[in-house]
Amino acid sequence: MISGLERFVAELRREGLSASPAEWLEALRAVERLGLDDRERFRRALRCTLVKRAAQLELFDRVFEGFFAAPGTSGPGSRRSARGAGGSGGRRPIAAGPAPSGTTRKPASAAEPSPARDPTPCSAASALPRAVAALLEGQPWRHGRWRRVLLGPGAPAPRATRAGPSPPAAAAPGADPLRRDLAWRLSPEGERELAALVPRIVERIRLRSGRRLRRSRRGRPYMRRVFRDSLRHGGVPCVLPFRRRRPRRSRIVLLTDVSWSVARAAGLFLSIAGELLRHSRDVRVLLFVDRAVDATREIDDWLRRQPTPRDAWDGGSRGARRPGSGIARGGVSFAKLVSSLPGLAPDAPSDYGRAFHGLARSSKRPGGRTTALVVLGDGRTNRFDPQAWAFEELASRCGAVIWLVPEPWQRWGSGDSALGAYLPHADVAVETSDLAGLARGVAELVRRL
């Protein structure tokens, strides 16, 4: 029994549910108390001792069903609901050993191929337009932490949203560059034109945040102390104390998709956010396509490069290539920088689930009350398993989660997009299909610091 339980705990750890030796021993003691003759009771004993978060329940049940397949069942096919207050369950003996290896999901390590594609689209996708409509009306959506959505000026009025989404209003290539859809085909010259607007945007955000900080220096009125402070002199004159904000050092994690469809928005976003944040804050930059790679130093070095005339030449001379070729610093384009990062495959299909899973499992996963996690991505995970639980776990460890979606909101959750599964775990979703949207997203981040 001990070795079987040990293998089960190892399997759980491989799947991302970390159980310490103390918890493993506790599970052993629990099984001793409850016995092995009832499978359901055995499952409850392990679940109660090894699972520490609601988000882990589903994973535990899946691994349990795969590992301790009951006679006459085929493992995961008979998996139970993840609800904690499950039914009483029948008395069934436990299978002698683990199920065949094929019944459990393979671990998504870097050396192994990605998990099989999930043929069913995200079930929550169809609910996204309703969610956006509800949030525009100031209603929270379901029981997730999603509370706000920031759309561009073309967003419909809250009531109008109920009638059904209107077709996306794409900006023509010659229109206001700030409103130009970043998903349009754009030459490196066009990208260069957009990149040239970045300093102006940075200055504008800096100016606004400076005003806000000056306003908040005195703090908010502290009503609870009015009586105490005024008692000393009988309330004449009445003292109105102010509560100053406690200084705290925020940590920021920029988790950015740099696959083909998002690379241009990613380059511009990192240019804006990096300029604003690199001097004063504790910032980490993680880039991903199908696995997350820490690129903090490389992005910092890239941003420190001064723009040179060679940037124009580098972007324009080789014709239309990867998105991000025209966003260059000191002769190095963003596309080139991304291609040179070890461990990152920019041409691979996006796999958000695998990237989130890997990050949630790693020892360097972001977390902390003062940590703001900013994700930039369209959630298009090529019908791979979205593994929303992994993102939920990442999000639950962070004080604030902002998701920037570089697509018009009408396309959110359509096709292979798994945004419907991810966005409930973010506090704010921002439409960043153009440069103005990116500026809005970065301003939201700065506002929360």
């Binding site: 003691r29 409850l34 004993a45 978060r53 207050a85 369950g89 309703r130």
Partner: protein, 299 residues
Amino acid sequence: MTSPESIETALRSHGFVATGEVATALFLAEQLGKPLLIEGPPGVGKTELGKLWALCHDAELIRLQCYEGLDEAKALYEWSYGKQMLYAQLLREKTGDLLAGAPDLASAVRRLQGQTDEFFSREFLLPRPLLAAITATRPVVLLIDEIDRADEEFEAFLLEVLSEAQVSIPELGTFRAERPPRVILTSNDSRDLSDALRRRCLFLFIDYPDFEEELRIVESRVPGLDDTLRGQLVRFTQSVRKVSLRKRPGIAETIDWALALVAVGAEGLSAAALKQTLGALLKNRDDVERVLSDLPRHR
């Protein structure tokens, strides 16, 4: 309580319909001597379970309601400042006798040394819930309610209490529980609790019940309700929970609503009865309007 089934039966005798999952978690908490962390949406019976557990064991329930800003002084102990002052005043003459003849301040202080400890003895200690639970001589259930509302510092402070069943008071030393209290922590998951705290507890997640389960709960808590109406009521509640609402109704609200329907003598879920009593189920005006505007869908 020798098995999860006996716990299930004991809880049922007090009107609480416990699932096997709940009974097993309580049984293991009892057997392993570990605190039990219960998470779940508001109104599913987390606090009630703590109260009934005390009732089942004929134990005293000591409840610590957590909130932002809760600190050691409010949770563990305080010195009774007023009592200390009163005693100091009453004993002024005695103090005068003690200090009589002291040639200088230093010798007076030396004479006082050892006497001042009397003012920091158990006589002047005001035990708050945690200390009361640790020093209790009879069986106790310590219910730390809504721990997610407390600050992270308080969470860290709780670690010693949870793992060692002891607390330290600088003036008096360490108090260790002779009979460790049964501890239940509840959380609405409004913020993520630390891994350190979670590791010290067994974990139980209570979600909204399914139709059959909720039917049994209403039957047990509101026996006077007609069977048909009970079915309609539970179906309605289950349907309403699927709607995007500001505050989804928990089991407590379902029971309140059932009681309200009995009180107004409703024979069915008519529009009039709904308008009269829906306030017991939904706690927000927008939610009530939203549900009333789409009544046929829920009935």
